[in-house]
Amino acid sequence: MSLTNLIVIFVQAGILVNMMLMAAAYMVLAERKIAAWIQNRVGPNRVGPWGLFQSFSDVFKLYLKEDIVPAAADYKFHALAPVIAIGVAVTTYAIIPFSAPLLELDGVQYGLAMAPNMNIGILAVLAMTSVGVYGVALAGWSSNNKYSLMGGLRSAAQMISYELSMGLAVIGVVLIAGSLNLVEIIQVQTRGVWFVFLQPLGFLLFFITALAETNRAPFDLPEAEPELVGGYHTEYSGMKFGLLYLAEYANILASSAIMATLFLGGWDVIPFVDDSTILGFAPNSLPMVLLGHVAFLSKSFALVFVFIWIRWSLPRFRYDQLMNLGWKVLLPLSLVNVILTALGVLLFD
């Protein structure tokens, strides 16, 4: 580990964490604006032009609020839960392959992504989301409040149930790509077709399970106000609540980025053709790499838009309907998907 390597890691980490926090803050604003447009009104438009500084005023307000901890709550875990939630969310960002590498220093290629070429890439992402369950369960338990406890338990059960189907949906992609390495998966898609065309059921399954993993409507019973007064984040105020909230949006962006990587071809700009020949730039040249970044981020943000759009259109699942869906519908469907994909790979490759 040379000194340049270390410096580059710090710089990348700095940029990524900053980017994640800014993106999460602006996603809160985007959600408010999009919800407003769906409801025939305009969202926040006072704080900056088109309300663009609203996120800063929201975060600033959260910093200034008093940090109230219930007297009978277990303080260590109460403070630890948001840390776990946001730590896991940030760690996922290190693995996401934003684009091909941009710089070459000391013979090593560096790009915006920190460790995209990990040979267990997608497995590491799934592992991190599993650890994220701890954040929610601890938040619910340590608040010493029956609503929080119910919310935390329901959320933990929901996340664990839907993780199975998520993993199986990913197996379909891994079978076709032949590797768990995220960069390898994208390169197979660049040479061939995007996996969303080869695995439509897999894409749908991954999307639905991602909605459930991030506790997002219509699966947001753990934090639904009419049902649970706020669920696992009832007893949080000030910046701890801010962290839990930002962690939720960071998870949404991470899930969208993973979906863009696995199914929508990552940094590939045009679906069925070879980008370099059509656009006329060499594969690892600067314009191509920048275009790759733009393509990747556009796909991720388009999926974030779909997440937000779905939240404001569909009614919430009841808890038993939710568990029913996870175990009795999605799990068999994902198993069928794996079997069909395996048959396809055997017959056509």
């Binding site: 447009w37 025939n40 009104r41 759009w309 779905i310 259109s313 569909l314």
Partner: protein, 166 residues
């Protein structure tokens, strides 16, 4: 008795309805079309709402060229359900012989019912169109005569409404 076995939702819906995906797609397209339609938001401090004549805003005293119309009879004070009006009469040289030396309406008690306007024999107190009331303290909420006297030209809409509908 507890479990329903006939005419369940599972039996009433067709296959395509049961998988819910077409229904979800229809719902999503509806919300998407709503996004493209114009919004109905009024940009408040820049665009203010101008009420019609029938609107009951805060009660004000009518000010004509030579002073208020009020003769300090005290009927508004007696009829007010919230006991918000206080009047003290004094003598004057004008034809009307009485005038209110002190006329106070406590806006924190006022319920904007309009009884004072309805009972006044001189049409001297009317409900204006003013709905933007802000006070810095409770003392500032008790409005004296200077804040209550409004020239008759600004109250024409309400006076027209009263003429037509009373």
């Amino acid at each position: 008795m507890a479990n329903i076995t006939s005419n369940t939702e599972s039996q009433r819906l067709t296959f395509w309805e049961k998988i819910y995906l077409p229904e979800i797609a229809k719902g999503l397209s509806l919300t998407f079309r709503q996004m493209l339609k114009p919004s109905f938001t009024r940009q408040y401090p820049e665009e203010r709402w101008n009420p019609e004549g029938s609107y009951r805003g805060r009660p004000v005293l009518v000010l004509e060229e030579d002073g208020e119309r009020c003769v300090a009879c005290g009927l508004c004070s007696r009829v007010c359900p919230a006991l918000a009006i206080e009047v003290r009469a004094a003598e004057t040289e004008k034809d009307k012989e009485r005038y209110p030396e002190k006329f106070e309406i406590n806006m924190l008690r006022c319920i904007y019912c309009g009884f004072c306007e309805e009972v006044c024999p001189e049409e001297a107190i009317v409900m204006s169109k003013d709905y933007e009331l802000v006070f810095g303290s409770q003392e500032e909420g008790i409005l004296g005569k200077e804040k209550l006297l409004i020239p008759v030209a600004q109250l024409q809409d309400r006076l027209e409404f009263l003429r037509q509908w009373r």
